[in-house]
């Protein structure tokens, strides 16, 4: 053993000394070598820019940009992760040090409350202190160009951050994160899926019915044709939409009738969405809803507990899983393009755009995207700086760079998701993609002069006017506006789930890219969107529920019968051989005794 240690020790000593000198060498090199910025992002989540005919990823382009602006060399080390959970566990174990990471909303909350993050440089004074001489080279693009609508969302999401002195204080996402991309969770569907045609449904009927989450629980035409996400949080959010459908429906009614304000409506939807974390305010909300009810109607329950909420949602999700074509992690967005496999998949807006684009090009199928009228999930991905970051200055500068509307437009063009940034370049890019007016003027430049009233012109042409001011407000220069004219968003009349005629507005890429507001009724998606917070300590409840859902519905009687038969058979064979062996031994003994 002693020898073993000596054998071990020798190379170890060599290793240690060489490592020591190595790190010094690295240090020595670092003096004259470029600075390092370590960025950790999702896969395929950064755009490219074309320079001299070459496509350069934005992280590399940043190196050139810094050289030009600050005159220093910087080396951006760009790495990727695939889920928030793997990213978090690597960060918690201390195996990874980065200067910038791009998690989703709830993961940012979680990281804040675990004290893993540091705030961004807020305000010009802090920026001046951080940037020093180079302060004049950079502009605070996030403050200038991020959409006020989204900044407002970040102000409302908060977490309790542990401080140096051991006390916790509440901070908002606006201090600790810089939004990158955002979107909704909705339904991508193929209205002409063979199963629906065979069931005697017109495409219009499919469209009308799929603007209602209840369609997924419908046991007739949609049964077995839709894929849901094999993802606890996303599927749980869909389950809540079903479990509290009546409350959502009632709230929408109140909001549309003007009984409650838009703010109140959005608040209420968010409370129901996060009922796991706020059971008390959820029960209070239900009690409040009861005051609006007629005496003849059954009141809403007001004594929910986490367990009772979980129990109801679990049974709803078990039914959903049984009704579905299956659970998918990543195949859904391509399966729906085949036109035969599945007719519906639940998708994040960016994936939905991808499916719609490629289906159009490759299989000539027109897919649609819907966020049902009772509401749904809005999500954000944002940049954060970990506490142990080594290059805080350039982490801040990288955000300034990414939030430049011109750069953000490259991102939007390449990734397909919608950036946090508004501004001229973004609105122009969006109009290039979706605006009939822009297309018309491109075809016939004289129109720009001759048409004075575009609203009237649009009505003649059958274009729908969509006002995206809620998103672009305050970020546009004079002469630019956020008015779009589109034929993509259309009113459609068909039979709803109850078999009555109903009119809804349906949309495709444009709707997925920018959820709309101010349209008649059904497409007024924005007020009904809710953020799903980090479950915190309640995560275990949801995980247990999800485990139960995933275990459900497999154990059919024939399995148990078959298994029992096999066990009986196995025992039978085994005992046959054992008995025979014993017998032969016995016989041998007898023979020996006879000798």
């Amino acid at each position: 053993m002693a020898k073993l240690t000596r054998i071990l020790a020798l190379p170890l000593v060599v290793l240690l000394t060489s490592a020591g000198s190595g790190s010094e060498a690295v240090k020595a090199l670092a003096a004259g070598e470029p600075m390092i910025l370590r960025v950790w992002n999702w896969e395929d989540y950064i755009g490219v820019v074309e320079v001299d005919g070459d496509e350069i990823p934005l992280d590399e382009y940043f190196e050139e940009y810094v050289k030009e602006v600050d005159g220093v060399d910087i080396d951006v080390i760009y790495e990727t992760f695939d889920t928030n959970e793997t990213m978090l566990s690597q960060l918690q174990s201390g195996a990874a040090t980065y200067d910038l990471i791009c998690p989703s909303d709830y993961a940012i909350q979680k990281m804040m409350s675990q004290g893993l993050l540091q705030p961004f440089a807020l305000g010009e004074e802090e920026r001046k202190a951080l940037y020093g001489d180079t302060y004049g080279n950079w502009s605070n693009n996030y403050d200038l160009y991020a959409s006020p609508y989204l900044k407002n969302w970040f102000d409302t999401i908060s977490a309790s951050v542990p401080g140096e002195d051991g006390t916790n204080s509440t901070h908002t996402l606006s201090e600790y994160a810089r939004g990158y991309m955002w979107g909704t969770l909705g339904i991508t569907y193929n209205p002409e899926y063979k199963g629906y045609i065979q069931a005697g449904m017109r495409p219009e009927d499919v469209m009308v019915q799929l603007s209602d989450w209840n369609a997924l629980w419908d046991q007739t035409a949609f049964w077995g044709t839709f894929q849901i996400k094999d993802s606890m949080r996303d599927t749980f959010s869909i389950g809540l939409m079903r479990t509290f459908d009546r409350a959502f429906e009632f709230l929408l009614e109140l909001y549309r009738a003007g009984t409650i304000t838009q703010e109140k409506y959005t608040d209420a939807v968010n409370i129901i969405f996060n009922c796991i974390n706020h059971v008390d305010s959820f029960n209070a909300l239900m009690a409040e809803l009861n005051t609006y009810l007629d005496h003849s109607e059954t009141p809403f329950e007001t004594d929910y507990t986490i367990d009772s909420i979980i129990a109801v949602t679990q049974s709803d999700l078990e039914v959903l899983r049984g009704n579905s074509y299956g659970l998918e992690t990543d195949s859904g967005k391509t399966d729906i393009q085949t036109g035969t496999r599945s007719g519906i998949c639940l998708a994040w807006s960016g994936d939905a755009i991808y499916s719609m684009d490629t289906a159009e090009e490759e299989t000539d199928i027109e897919l649609y995207y819907s966020v049902p009228s009772t509401g749904g999930n809005i999500w954000f991905d944002g940049w954060v700086i970990p506490k142990n970051a080594e290059n805080v200055e350039y982490a801040n500068k990288f955000i300034d760079f990414l939030c430049d509307p011109e750069i953000a437009a490259y991102n939007m063009d390449y990734i397909g998701y919608t950036p946090f940034i508004a501004g001229d370049d973004i609105v122009e890019k969006a109009k290039e993609w979706y605006d009939e007016k822009t297309w018309a003027i491109e075809e016939d430049p004289t129109l720009a002069e001759t048409v004075t009233d575009w609203d009237a012109y649009a009505e003649e042409e059958g274009w729908m006017r969509v006002d995206l001011s809620y998103f672009f407000e305050g970020s546009l220069s004079e002469g630019e506006d956020a008015i779009f004219y589109t034929t993509e968003i259309q009113p459609v009349t068909g039979k709803n789930l109850k078999g009555e005629d109903e009119t809804v507005y349906v949309g495709r890429q444009f709707l997925a890219q920018y959820p709309t507001i101010g349209l008649p009724d059904n497409l007024d998606i924005i007020p009904g969107l809710a953020v799903m917070e980090d479950y915190g300590n309640n995560n275990e409840y949801v995980l247990r529920m999800w485990e139960n859902v995933k275990a459900s519905g497999v154990l059919e009687p024939w399995i148990i019968v078959l298994f029992c038969l096999e066990i009986v058979l196995a025992i039978g064979i085994a005992s046959y051989f054992i008995v025979r062996k014993q017998l032969s031994l016995h016989e041998r003994k007898k023979r020996r005794a006879a000798k």
Partner: protein
Amino acid sequence: MNAATSELKESFWARLKSHARFKRKYLAFPYAVFLVLFVILPLLLIVYYAFSDSSGTPSFDALVSFFTSPNKWQVLFVSLFMGVQTTLICLLLGYPAAYILADKKLNKNAVLVVLFVMPMWINFVIRTGATRDLLDVIGLSGAQYPWPATLIGMVYNYLPFTILPLYTTMLKLDRSQMEAAADLGASPFRVFVHNVVPQSLPGIISASEMVFMPVMSSYVISDTLSEGKITLFGNYIYLDFSNSMWNEGSFMALIMLIIVGVSMFLTRNVDRSDAQVRGGGLW
């Protein structure tokens, strides 16, 4: 006294010399390091996590949670069932195939063996994706038939692991014994049951082990082919780990280890007692 010390010194040097000389067992050293780092340490870690709580203090929470969750039992049962079915089907298909391949009268072409193992050359995730499309085309999609689809995929993936050990055992079959049995009037069926099967028992056992254990713990194949409708134990462990429930995940991993260990112990035992009866060890 002096002589004694010098003798002692001498013998010490002699011993040192003999030890310092390169020995064959030093060749095992690299693997020993590997074993400690990647097998024994992780195992100890699993045990540690299985019997502690999230703050690191010893606790039986994970154990209690496992034994009080019917859903975990159910998933375990489903995994066991899947493992047994796949093993049986693989043996039923693989046994005759291996027999034919090993019989030089029936198979004069060694290339055929390669053909049987060839699917193993392609990564199984890719193969499973292709199987999914294939099953969809022939109308056996996992959406409607999760069990048949998953079983087909499992058998397809693990059949080579059945055929190979069976094939190597059957190459060593003592043909003269079989001929003698036939000459002494045993019907082909009796020859098979009383001679071929006992002779190939080691192959059957190692084939079963190589199929049963990985099937129990696999989840990519069942996830893809059953369209997420069949959840296996491995999937559950992964779910807990990805939600930072390290303790409960570790406990379930430990349960899996125990099951594998027990099944191995049982088969080894059966094999040994059988070998004794036959008066010689093939295993």
